[in-house]
Amino acid sequence: MEALLEATLRLAAPLLLAALGELVIERAGLIDIGIEGTMLTGAFAGFVVAVATGSPLAGVAAAAVAGTAVGALFAAFAVFGRVDQIVVGTAVNLLALGATGAGSRALYGGAPPSAPTLGALAEGPLAELPWLGALVFAQTPFVLAAWALALAIGVVLARTRPGLRLRAVGESARAADAEGVSVPRVRAAAVLIGSSLAGVAGAALTLAQSDSFTEGMTAGRGFIALAIVIFGRWSALGVLLASLFFGCATALQFRLQARGVGIPYPVFLMFPYLVTLAVLALATGRARAPADLGRAYAREAS
């Protein structure tokens, strides 16, 4: 039980970080399916910089910067150019897949080295405390950062002026505009912040869950993060719980797999995507998305 919870928290962290990023973006009224590519770019940038400098923290910073840069590309086209968000997201995903794949072959020729990783928060007696050890001290900083961010984003969205503006832009861009809020500026800011979180989520894969980069290694986690935002009903607490659910499902999958219960391997590969589909089919309908989600906003000519 303790081990299962430990694995749940560990596996949920990258999903939670990416989903929080997508949450910020969607509450401002945009759907960013490029979150998958943003995460992949963060994973690659974090890995490259951590290998080059020997510092995993520098890698995390690079992942955040790379994520923000991808977000700037998305915002330039989807917010300022008002190009359809699905189209821009698709382009971002293709670009990220191509650029990181070609980059990794160019740099490492198909045999990437090991990156220095961010280990557990504390070792020794603290990590051996019952429950608290496995659930807090044995976890990587990514896990704690993800929880802290979930709390912070929840409070900022619900209780602060910038959070109110962000939600206003997502619910009714026109009304927010009439109130004097700059819709493009708020949306662009949301995309940059959310994308930096997705970048860090990628780094959690290369600098904590593994120590290496492989082509397309996000393997749809960004898309699962999109589903988590829906399942979590566009709230920070909901997103936290939904990502724990997915972390737990993945942990259970690994356990069953390790036990070798005679289920063919591809069934396990399918599992997270089938769970996501099932959850979406059961969860949506009741949940309500931000009213202006996915709509480009153009001020009417006056």
Binding site: I33, F77, V88, A91, L94, A102, Y273, L277, L280
Partner: protein, 310 residues
């Protein structure tokens, strides 16, 4: 650098082998490009052409190597194509039904179904469809009667693809269904007031789009590889999105657009073989083409606004 560009050219349009490779790559891109263009025109974001293609290839292989492998060519080849279209349509309709009945965004469901289809292929070729010798995770080779007729190394699927582009054009602009599809895509609310059920249209459009992508999958196994294995499609269904957008979602323009990306794929493969430039770099070009095509639409809009103001 020059060596790489030379390989890119000779591997696509600079030699006979290059031309056949280009046309072979063009066929699936044309059909899946059409699939995506029709869906997008109907306001349905089918990002699942990849999975629908794989589902089609899977069903086609089941018919060709297990269910009806002894049938005569006159019956088997069409049955294989139909099975492919059926498999793709099934995957498309599933996403459509999830949207119509449960409000699940087809953007996400079609993406997730891509992963499911990939795993189903893996499951099949490690299990029920694995070759008789059980040596490798791949299907038995197709019986000769199931293979598409080919000219040199270009299979008849290319001809079918060209025909489908013309049919797609006619469907979109010359039939009541095409009118309804465009109406839902352009003005969903107005279409609803005109009595068109958006849910039913989503299911139909996704099934049709999926059928096309599934057909492309059947043509790949019956025309190019002659058997099913993992990695059958290296992102054809995603490239299809770039194909459709470059064609500005016009069925007839999908033909040159697919040819362009086909030449790019063929050339990139040669570039990787001969100059060691990773072929994944073509995805960068695909992403850039989408953004450039999108950028052109921004300029058009800006030009239009200026014209109105002036």
């Amino acid at each position: 650098m020059s060596e790489a560009l030379l390989a890119l050219f000779s591997g696509s349009l600079g030699s006979l082998a290059g031309w056949t490779a280009t046309l072979r790559e063009t066929a699936p891109l044309l059909i899946t490009g059409l699939a995506v263009a029709l869906a997008f025109r109907g306001g349905v974001w089918n990002i699942g052409a990849e999975g629908q293609l794989l589902a089609g290839a899977l069903c086609a292989t089941a018919v060709a190597t297990r269910l009806w492998e002894g049938a005569p060519a006159l019956w088997l080849a069409p049955a294989v194509a139909l099975a492919g279209a059926f498999g793709g349509a099934l995957f498309g309709a599933l996403a459509g039904a999830l949207r119509a009945a449960r409000g699940v965004s087809e953007v996400i469901s079609t993406i997730l179904l891509n992963f499911v289809a990939g795993s189903l292929v893996a499951l099949a070729i490690h299990g029920p469809l694995q070759e008789a010798s059980r040596a490798y995770p791949k299907s038995d080779p197709f019986p000769a009667a199931a293979l598409l007729p080919s000219f040199g190394r270009v299979h008849a699927g290319l001809l079918a693809a060209l025909l489908l582009a013309a049919l797609g054009h006619a469907l979109l602009y010359r039939t009541p269904f095409g009118f309804r599809l465009r109406a839902v895509g352009l003005a969903p609310t107005a279409a609803r007031f005109a009595g068109i059920s958006p849910g039913r249209m989503a299911v139909t459009t996704l099934a049709l789009s999926g059928a096309l992508a599934g057909l492309a999958g059947a043509f790949e196994v019956a025309g190019v590889t002659g058997q099913l294995y993992e990695g059958l499609s290296a992102g054809t269904g995603y490239t299809a999105i770039a194909v459709a957008l470059l064609a500005r979602l016009q069925p007839l323009w999908v033909i040159p657009s697919a040819f362009f990306f086909g030449a790019l794929e063929a050339g990139a493969a040669a570039m990787q073989r001969e100059a060691g430039v990773p072929a994944v770099a073509t995805q960068i070009v695909q992403g850039l083409v989408i953004l450039v095509a999108a950028g052109a639409s921004i300029r058009r809009r800006a030009g239009g606004a200026r014209a109105e103001a002036g």
